[in-house]
């Protein structure tokens, strides 16, 4: 039987277990968010000729940085670009992931091919975005691309995937390639949790596999689809590594090709931390509004809170 003293000791236990996580959370998540918000409202005032230590002072800027960020001629094009990119990547990636998961599930008994396909499609998750962009970047080069060879063998002119019109699709393909397998595994795992007996009566009633997929399986994996959608959305709006890696291979990618690249340029190439902070707050807010808005729209809580 626990005495009062051990019970008293135990009251502090959960806090002790939580302490490292909470300290790190405060230092590397909460504090940076607050600091970014603070920086976005500050600016440097240069007095005199701007020489000497005292001539540059930081003052409150109000919403100046936000106005500057939103009216920057490079900003809106980068937002539209990422919007179009997201409209290509997220539905294609999740559509393929769902399709492959359903096919794997319907093929449950066909072990060898299913296993080979599952591992192959999941494999790109092990390839960092930088390396994936590097591999595809070379494959896009007209001199290297086997697809171009094939198209030219048919007597047609192969498109240059790194031209202005097609770069967006070239980058989107890298993201789809890298992300489909992981999402497929998540959806497939949810499908496998369903006992096959659930489908059997539907089969006996003569329902086709397609009808079973549409009426039973997809509703069952809906929570997984919602989660993968939210995670994909957040990742998509922050696209950075892919275009940064393709830049040396494709002169069609500017330094402000995506909003995050603009944040990087403002902060580190132009030393304008205030504009960079304002832009990153805008992107973060937009991401939050979109992901929470989506979760509201589908009427689900973000994560299951009960066990």
């Amino acid at each position: 039987m626990p005495s009062r003293t051990t019970a008293g000791k135990r009251a502090g236990t959960p806090y002790a277990f939580l302490a490292p996580a909470l300290i790190l959370f405060a230092a590397f998540l909460a504090a940076p968010i607050v600091y970014a918000g603070y920086l976005s409202l500050r600016k440097v005032k240069v007095s005199g000729l701007g020489l000497g230590a005292r001539s540059r002072t930081e003052i409150w800027a109000g919403l100046d940085n936000y106005v500057r960020s939103l009216t920057d001629p490079d900003f809106l094009p980068s937002v539209y670009r990422v919007g179009a990119y997201g409209l290509i990547v997220v539905p294609t990636m999740l559509g393929l992931a769902l399709l492959f998961a359903l096919l794997l599930d319907a093929n449950r008994t066909r072990e060898a091919i299913g296993k080979f396909a599952r591992i192959s499609i999941f494999l790109p998750y092990a390839v960092p975005a930088v390396v994936a962009s590097l591999l595809w970047g070379f494959l896009y080069l007209p001199r290297v691309s086997p697809i171009n060879d094939a198209i030219e063998a048919l007597g047609l002119t192969a498109p240059n995937l790194l031209s202005t019109d097609l770069t967006l699709w070239a980058v989107a393909n890298i993201a789809v390639w890298g992300g489909t397998g992981f999402n497929m595994i998540v959806i497939y795992t949810a499908l496998r949790a369903v006992p096959t007996s659930l489908y059997e009566s539907a089969r006996i009633d003569g329902a086709s596999e397609l009808a079973i997929a549409w009426r039973i399986k997809i509703p069952i994996v809906m929570p997984s689809l919602v989660m993968t959608f939210v995670f994909s959305l957040i990742a998509t709006l922050q696209v950075f590594a892919e275009p940064m890696t393709l830049r040396p291979l494709a002169n069609t990618i500017s330094t402000t090709w995506t909003p995050l690249m603009k944040v990087y340029r403002d902060a580190f190439a132009r030393n304008d931390l205030y504009a960079a902070a304002a832009t990153s707050v805008i992107i973060a807010l937009a991401t939050f509004v979109l992901s929470f808005g989506f979760l509201k729209l589908v009427g689900r809580r973000a994560f299951n809170q009960e066990d």
Binding site: L22, F25, V186, A276, D307
Partner: protein
């Protein structure tokens, strides 16, 4: 039951097409690594050559083995970062699942919100805060931010709730075992399967990360492989002979992670929404 399953050739074809699409770049890098600099852009793309060993020697010789240092750094960042993060997540997840205390739901909701925080808003202030502490351009600049993973805590809480029976904790307490000893000898072993998953998630996230080390590090001796290869590719645009090293480096860099994936496959069967592992 198996007889009622339709084995449609269309399904098999689609799966194999998907597999081919996913394997194409991997197959290409395997073949391209065997080509000399002259052959890379001249011979047929999918025709292998015989220079793989020469390319590996060149890669290893690049600036006194800088490439291997990048690989070593990546193993340190991902290995240490994921190990510490998993332990911290396990402790926090266990506390949230198995104890009643004031502020519990507030803590949990804050951590849930953390899962949805986009990294973009963190990068610059993290850099500035670490710069104030004089820690940018050190191993710590990459390690410290990767120790905290709200998603890891979220998963660990579900694993603790599902795999640690309260009666066993009570029995251990009645036996006079201290809370930390109980955690180390009873709770951690029970959560093992789930914690491997948390570790793998964080390991891959750190291994694949580009923006954080790209911003934090200036000294190329501290680079992880992603930032190193990005730099090599940039040099290649002025010095095309570098391209064989870039391609060979890309191949070597994905070998360890692919090996890790194939051996630990079952731990990836995660139900993201429910959090359960089907092991």
């Amino acid at each position: 039951m198996t007889t009622t399953l339709k084995r449609s050739p269309i399904a098999t074809t689609l799966l194999l097409l998907g597999a081919a699409y996913c394997l194409l770049p991997v197959l290409w890098v395997l073949i391209a690594s065997s080509k000399s600099a002259g052959e890379l852009f001249s011979t047929f793309t999918l025709a292998p050559s015989t220079h793989l060993f020469d390319n590996l020697v060149d890669l290893a010789a690049y600036r006194d083995g800088l490439y291997w240092r990048w690989m070593g750094n990546t193993v340190v960042y991902a290995g240490v970062g994921a190990a510490v993060s998993t332990l911290i997540s396990a402790m926090a997840g266990y506390a949230l699942a198995k104890f009643e205390f004031r502020g519990k739901s507030a803590v949990f909701n804050i951590i849930l919100a953390g899962v949805l925080v986009p990294g973009v808003i963190l990068a610059i202030p993290q850099y500035l805060l670490l710069a104030k502490l004089g820690m940018t351009n050190t191993y710590w600049a990459v390690l410290l931010p990767s120790f905290i993973s709200p998603y890891g805590i979220y998963l660990a809480r579900i694993f603790a709730a599902a795999s640690v029976p309260t009666e066993i904790l009570e029995a251990s307490r009645i036996d006079g075992s201290g809370e930390w000893r109980t955690f180390g000898t009873v709770v951690l072993p029970m959560m093992r399967t789930g914690l491997v998953t948390v570790f793998l998630f964080q390991f891959v996230a750190i291994w694949n990360n580009f923006m954080l080390p790209y911003i934090m590090l200036g000294d190329d001796k501290l680079y992880p492989i992603t930032v190193g290869l990005n730099g090599l590719l940039n040099q290649g645009s002025n010095m095309p002979s570098m391209y064989t090293s870039v391609v060979t480096g890309a191949l070597v860099s994905i070998v360890p992670l692919i090996a890790l994936f194939l051996t630990l496959q079952r731990y990836w069967q995660v139900d993201l929404a429910a959090g359960g592992v089907k092991a």
